[in-house]
Symmetry: none
Subunit: 249 residues, 2 copies
DNA sequence: CGTTATGATTTGTCTAGTTGTATAGAACAT
DNA sequence: ATGTTCTATACAACTAGACAAATCATAACG
């Protein structure tokens, strides 16, 4: 609306149309009209609602995306972005505990579940012979329905022959290991690196390609010291902060 | 048929999603995850794994079929026809750095040494009043003549009045603190995030702008629990892996 | 044992909707 | 004049859903 005073002491130009659309949409989000994870109306619909061209709406949405408020997915829509979360790492890494401690609702989605021969990296980490079979669990971790991280868990098949069915039912590594007789496990070592998101990683995590990722790799061992899981996780870097407490919990 | 469209992605467009899926699948075949004659997972399963619509997977498979790597049989599946011959192996030397103790790395070059009022973040971390004076040490650490990390250490001036001269002489935070009467200190908490390199950071670290960085922030406390250092470090994600082994408490 | 019917799974094709990119031009302010 | 803002149009890339056609697994039946 240009009912604003035409002459402001500032830059001289009236507030741009796209800027007022940005403000209006941010206000809608703040009012709860669209909440985290929701899909906004399509650009065409928004253009009709504000009585402007689609490109003007796009200018506003681009501004909001730069602020990290929304994220667009081609062919699908524009979605309200998630809020950042802290994620503690240490000797005991338990996804459900970590997320629910912060008051968020954890969930996991299975992306792939297969059994195959271990590659060189996996064999070395799990202390296997080359070519031994492993169960591989690719998945996506969510907090409050927002994607937090991609992960891949590799289990030695000869130690945990039927963990695939357990994982399928329980969707939890801790619970599945328990069902297979591993009551407790600890993380031997964690390695952390920074990577850039590939196109498909970006799609899963609802970020843009080239955004920074936090990649952690680690091996979990049972009380007797045998490696039972080789895990790799890719966290959305601008949505997650890993916290490392000095004291062990 | 849209036969062969040798269209190169324009300067503004990123890599197409289907193309990265192609690369990923070829990679899987090259690594022996799927070998010649095997049946690939169904299009629906692949779509779920890559977080993408089935049509996008089909575009990738069509590309691979055109290259003669796979062939599809309606009602049956997609089968691997041949294995790619040339496969690039990424080789890179990595510098391993343990973060569980103190978070200090051997410092090599001083970039700046100054005394000024603490900003809001620093004051909060060091439990200072707003505007209290701090000593700030900006530096660059190297290994084998390769820049590894940028770091900034902030010390409360009233607790460590003459640490600047010590730092200048010793170039080591641990040694300088010892010279100031702090025999031992521990890290209270470490926070880790992934960021993209700014132009100046890239220049110092000899990487390209937008390369992935590993940012750690932490506070060190003396035996009495008083915060004595607030440190921030930016590691070059391409060259560094942070390790956290379970032995440390 | 062999054949057939049935249903589920998988690839092939089609239509429609949504965001991303490129180009061109009109209105307007400095 | 010149640059910015907004409009207008067209196409590319990806999603979503539906349906057809080929194949496979299995049960039923002779």
């Amino acid at each position: 609306m240009s009912s604003n005073s035409p002459k402001t002491p500032g830059p001289g130009t009236r507030t741009a149309v796209w800027k007022s659309i940005t403000i209006s949409l941010i206000d809608d989000i703040a009012q709860g009209r669209y909440s985290s994870g929701d899909k906004l109306p399509s650009e065409a619909q928004l253009a009709a609602r504000f009585g402007v061209n689609r490109h003007t709406v796009r200018r506003a949405l681009a501004d909001m995306a730069e602020q990290g408020l929304v994220h667009a997915r081609r062919g699908s829509g524009v979605f309200v972005a998630a809020t950042p979360t802290d994620y503690p790492i240490g000797k005991r890494v338990r996804f459900h505990q970590n997320i629910s401690r912060g008051g968020q609702i954890p969930a996991k989605r299975i992306l792939a579940l297969e059994t195959r021969a271990a590659d060189k990296t996996e064999a070395a980490a799990l202390q296997l012979e080359a070519g031994e079979m492993v169960h591989v669990y690719d998945g996506l971790s969510l907090a409050d329905d927002q994607p937090i991280a991609l992960f891949q868990s590799v289990f030695p098949a000869h130690l945990l022959p039927n963990i695939r069915t357990e994982l399928e039912d329980l969707q939890s590594v801790t619970a599945a290991l328990k069902a297979c007789g591993i009551a407790d496990y600890t993380r031997a070592e964690t390695r952390i690196t920074a990577k850039l998101a590939t196109a498909t990683q970006a799609l899963h995590l609802r970020i843009s390609e080239g955004a920074p990722l936090l990649r952690t790799t680690g091996v979990n061992i049972d009380p007797e010291g045998r490696p039972i899981e080789f895990g790799r996780t890719w966290f959305a870097g601008d949505r997650v902060t890993l916290t490392l407490n000095g004291e062990e919990s």
